[in-house]
């Protein structure tokens, strides 16, 4: 397969080497990170090899764990796509996190406020999706509009926005939908008929997976097959150029971030109705927003790669959970290893010298070939 791939005529030789090398690089990076983990574990663990083994193959040892990977990847895909849109116009709007929280919170509130049976559950869930999306739009548009109209730094305003959204959701939860019979900060149980159906029995892989994949597909199409996608890519890659060619920069900037917010809000709703029985994100706010950045950066900001990187991140985390479950290694240690894996995978210059040597050799061969007939 590799050979066939390398001999693909459509691409230039250098490009082919680059792609093949990229694959190898990611693998080596992961292996290296694991080796590093192994070395560190030697210091305080009785069974470092076992721990590393659990970390690597643990996530594949049974169906439910594989399910865990997929379940975790669903919200990551949504927030990753959200960040793809933010990045596409070169804005570092982090409001995806606030949108995600609010998307889940507001729809839970609505689902609990409207008595069952008034609206058919099928319609209701679609309605909730739309509302969640709109909530996400509202959250993400604040930093977007402030940046576009008033040049307010979007990183700061979105971080502040996330905090405000977190406290707002806590306010809504405690004042309007708290379950008084439980001892934790949670809403009443969400109506059963609104729960997203499970796709794979014995796991929690729910309908959200299909929706997430559809969202990825739609994003890819929007990015590369629609005028809007073309416009935001132009705006994102060179704002001045966009202005000169008559593309309304501000409009597209805001629009892209709004679409991103929509996806994050939708993701929040899908996560709540897929994985939870109540709205209870107050004990610890989900970190899907920040994770979305990791996913999008690892995917090199390409929406088509989002499912891959979301699964990769979910896999690493599931591995960490397995280690936590089956060994004495503290969960915090795994956080450190996880960061190392992410850094090494993202490192662009890692092994770059080797790559350049290969490309140089390739170019020399090409040159030789070219000169022969002359």
């Amino acid at each position: 397969m590799i050979k066939k791939f390398l001999n693909n005529d459509k691409m230039s030789q250098a490009r082919r080497v680059e792609i093949a090398f990229e694959v190898v690089r990611v693998i080596v990076a992961i292996l290296l990170a694991y080796a590093l983990a192994l070395a560190l574990l030697l210091i305080f663990s009785d069974d470092p090899a076992g721990t590393v083994r659990q970390f690597i193959i643990g996530p594949f040892t049974n169906l439910r764990r594989v399910g865990n990977i997929i379940e975790q990847a669903i919200p990551l895909m949504f927030t990753g796509l959200c960040m793809c849109f933010m990045y596409s116009v070169n804005e570092f709007n982090l409001a995806g996190e606030g949108a995600f929280i609010m998307g889940g919170c507001i729809t839970s509130w609505i689902a609990l406020s409207i008595p069952g049976g008034i609206i058919p559950s099928f319609l209701m869930i679609i309605l909730l999706f739309l509302i969640a999306g709109m909530v996400g739009v509202a959250v993400a548009s604040v930093p977007a509009v402030l940046k576009a109209k008033l040049n307010v730094n979007e990183i700061v305003s979105s971080l502040m926005m996330n905090k405000i959204m977190y406290y707002l959701s806590s306010f809504i939860l405690f004042y309007y939908m708290r379950d008084t019979t439980i001892a934790m900060g949670g809403s009443w149980r969400l109506p059963n008929e609104l729960k997203l159906p499970i796709l794979i029995p014995r796991t929690n892989v729910h309908l959200g997976l299909i929706l997430a994949l559809i969202a990825v597909a739609v994003t890819v199409i929007v990015f590369y097959r629609t005028p809007f996608g073309g416009a935001i890519r132009i705006v994102g890659s060179n704002r001045f150029f966009a202005e000169y060619t008559g593309i309304n920069v501000n409009k597209n900037l805001i629009a892209a971030q709004i679409v991103g917010g929509f996806l994050a809000g939708l993701g929040g709703c899908i996560e709540i109705f897929g994985m939870y029985t109540r709205y209870q994100w107050i004990i610890a706010a989900p970190t899907a927003g920040m994770d979305g950045i990791l996913v999008a950066v690892l995917a090199r900001r390409k929406p088509a790669l989002i499912p891959v990187t979301a699964l990769l991140l979910a896999y690493i985390r599931t591995g960490a959970d397995v280690v936590n479950l089956s060994t004495e290694v503290p969960a915090e240690f795994i956080q450190v290893i996880q960061a190392i894996v992410i850094l090494l995978v993202a490192a662009q210059m890692f092994l770059a010298k080797t790559r350049n040597k290969i490309i140089y050799k390739q170019a020399q061969d090409d040159l030789a070939k070219e000169e022969q007939p002359a």
Partner: protein, 319 residues
Amino acid sequence: MDLDWLVEFLFTIIRLSTPLIFAALGAVISRKAGVLNLALEGMMLVAALTGVVFSAITQSWIVGLLTAVLGSMLMATIISYCFLVIKTDLYLTCIATNMASIGGTVFVMFLLTGSKATTAEALRSMSIPRIDLPLIKDIPYIGDVLSGHNLLTYVSFAMVFFAWFLIYKTRIGLRMRAVGEAPEAVESVGISVPKIKYISFLLSGVFAGFGGAFMSMSYVTWFSRDMVAGRGFIGMSIMNIANASPVGSLGASFIFGGADATAKYLQLQNLPTDLVFMVPYAVTIIALTVISIVRIRREDRIVHGKSLRRKKATEKAAE
């Protein structure tokens, strides 16, 4: 009575602002070299832990403070290595190191003390002394506000000047500003841009180190899990509000400290807690917005045509 309350309130603002000043200066110094340091949070956390651990071992707050700064600089080195040498995405690096330091500090604390919550039970760490300012402390009211703070509070004020001096009066400052503005120009004369960025990051680490030390050796006298609690991010926001000026950061830190102190006192008035918690964040957004509006107004006043056209365009859109 009221005046006493005000004195206390102002004193609180200064105390609350201290770690923010350090964090903001850390953000400023790296921003000047064109790098946005999102990892202040992690740096401060590591500094807080190393300070506590080493001051407990040596029973000297000076050693603790120094090691705190060194710990933070070590983090800066790691981050710089990642994004300057092996070329990882800067934001990703910072987020990943924040993640690693939250986990890593708890892990190290667990190995050392057996507790995952705080070092207070197992380590007797030293605290940095409070200082009474001679003369000033005798001035009524003003003395009560300005004197009696922790040494690091005064250090933070000195650091503002130090940062300003460093940026605008020294060779490395000159180079850092140049790197931030036109890296290719600096490169063309043979100065290594990554090296300057690295140095600015290290300096950022120094400031963050002081901030972390303040958290664990002055504010309180132990390390506890995730004790920086978002102050690094707030420092970054302050830098933004102040447009990366060291002196401006001092002012913005006080605004933020003031908002925070106000929120604390508002809670005593028993307003809904969640809404009170939003105050500092809402204040930030509003402050940024107002500053931007003022800035744009000023420009518009110069370019009458611009506002004229913008007005016409909106009128047209309204139709």
